[in-house]
Subunit: 331 residues, 2 copies
């Protein structure tokens, strides 16, 4: 089969596309013919070696996938060749990734694809959708009618957070980088503030009628606890999903007196069971049109290195000027 | 009735003891003849005005109480004169406190006293016991066999945390100030480290066999996240219950990647229902001898100011040289 792969961590050019042996579905696995994959920042960090992980050699990068089952391995009885499936979490923790024509996936990581939703949409939604769902519901316990603030509301995870919070009946305020993104987020049903221009604490206070935030999901790399802890309502929930190098100051007094909760997670440490619970909501919401995933760029498998270069430029170089996911269409 | 009271916040000398009108049990309340009360640091902060709260004037300080029901107010049918009760949470959020011969208490804040346990032990255990129970079980979700670290393990709340964690089947490491306190905590069943002498991260690593801590309850005023976040196991739970002025640096990366949880609370913001759930365990554990509360000093009601002065000196001035609670015996 054709697959993107690296033999050592490095820049985008370390990605080669060529022939690798077809994988075989082992016990409890399914063999999937992949039609769409999508990139996430974690793919860049693993490829570059900045997030060290045990990697097979050669290593196929990529977490997200959608496609069609080609064979079920021994012991797999509830899924059959021809079934459409989607998922994420490949290419992590020693597993091979998804930028390949075929992948062998543990049954528990493959979710039934809903009719009427394209493989491209499923692949583009996978990791960001599961991350957003875990943050909103497992970690923040978000309920209908609550006030939530989402910095970076048009980012990969951010746009999912906004869509899912609205789908859950919450009242959403998000921050964005410019007026164009503000109009986009408003079209999804969110209120917006613009970084570096608006007085965010004053806008949060007005948004919540002085009550404070029930939830805050920080998608960006420098959480500002001195601003956000005072902006929370009693028993508010704060969630961190980024910021590996950040070491901000933390105001202990207002945090504990208000009974706040701070949690964080890396999506790839969630169990298969936790992620499958998210996946069933995601499949339903995509089918109902309640969430949609903007696509910023499409590349064929042969241009996997170019796809990485495009995402890297947009994530690190262009300070988030691109809205939407980078998709790799395969086969 | 005789009662301690203040007419303005200030030093211990602002507490006078004299005659105030007897309270009356209103709808849903019980009138309790108090036999024992106990002091907590929050009493000092409210009296001094450093934790501002709306106060009646004159204000009777004191949170904890144990005694005997003298009358049940309208609508109270499940408790009767002569029943022994205990509780905490009076003298907070606008309520009158417990350094008085009689108090009117909402039924939901009065718990049945277990036979064979003295009123002094119940009063001394009330606020610290409920605080420790909330921290260990509601907030940290502590389970049998887990590893927990408790700085300040012979303090008021600290000694309760140690006793309850052991009662729950957890493995307990606590920090103490000197060898005498270490022997005391070891006699309760805890491992110990001594502040400013032992290498605490190395001791935590050895204690947990390299796994890291499942729970850390910080009772002291300067939490050190840079030391403690790396010492936690994946999905570990960190709880703050002190440190109003602390603003330490917070390492975001290891916190979120390990999926840690940080929560905090001020005990007086817990609901009556949450506290009653703690009280039933506390009554049972006291009756079974699984927890015990050291008494550092006993004062009659007429010496309420002296009791405050003693606790203030021990808490702030003597850097925790005194182990145990300060009890006020009444009537």
């Amino acid at each position: 089969m054709q697959a993107a792969h690296i033999t050592a961590t490095g820049g985008p050019d370390s990605i080669k596309v060529g022939t690798l042996p077809d994988p075989v579905a082992g016990p409890g696995e399914v063999l999937v013919r992949v039609t769409a994959s999508a990139l996430n920042p974690i793919d860049l960090y693993i490829r570059a070696g900045t997030v060290p992980m045990a990697l097979p050699n050669p290593f196929i990068p990529g977490c997200d996938f959608a496609g069609t089952v080609e064979a079920a391995g021994p012991g797999v009885t509830d899924i059959k060749p021809g079934d459409r499936v989607w998922g994420s979490n490949q290419g992590l923790l020693g597993r091979q990734g998804t930028l390949a024509e075929k992948i062998a996936v543990k049954r528990e990581w493959a979710y039934p694809s809903p009719p009427g939703v394209t493989d491209e949409a499923l692949a583009a939604t996978a990791l960001v959708g599961i991350t957003a769902h875990l943050a909103l519901f497992r970690n923040a316990g978000l309920k209908a009618g609550e006030f939530i603030y989402i910095p970076g509301g048009t980012g990969g995870v951010g746009s999912m957070l906004v869509a899912m919070a609205i789908a859950a009946g919450a009242k959403v305020l998000c921050s964005v980088g410019n007026d164009e993104k503000a109009r986009l987020a408003q079209s999804w049903g969110a209120e917006t503030v613009v970084h570096r221009r608006d007085d965010i604490p004053a806008r949060i206070s007005a948004f919540t009628g002085g009550k404070g935030l029930d939830a805050w999901i920080e998608t960006q790399r420098e959480p500002d606890f001195m601003t956000m802890v005072p902006a929370m309502a009693p028993r508010g929930r704060m969630v961190l999903i980024a910021g590996r190098a950040a070491q901000p100051v933390f105001p202990v007094g207002p945090f504990y007196v208000k009974g706040l909760t701070l949690t964080g997670f890396a999506m790839f440490n969630a169990t298969a069971q936790e992620q499958a619970a998210c996946a069933s909501d995601i499949s339903r919401w995509l089918a109902e049109g309640k969430i949609r995933t903007p696509i910023a760029g499409r590349f064929p498998l042969s241009q996997a290195a170019e796809a990485h270069r495009f995402l890297e430029a947009s994530t690190l170089g262009m300070a988030g000027q691109v809205v939407g996911k980078v998709v790799v269409n395969i086969g």
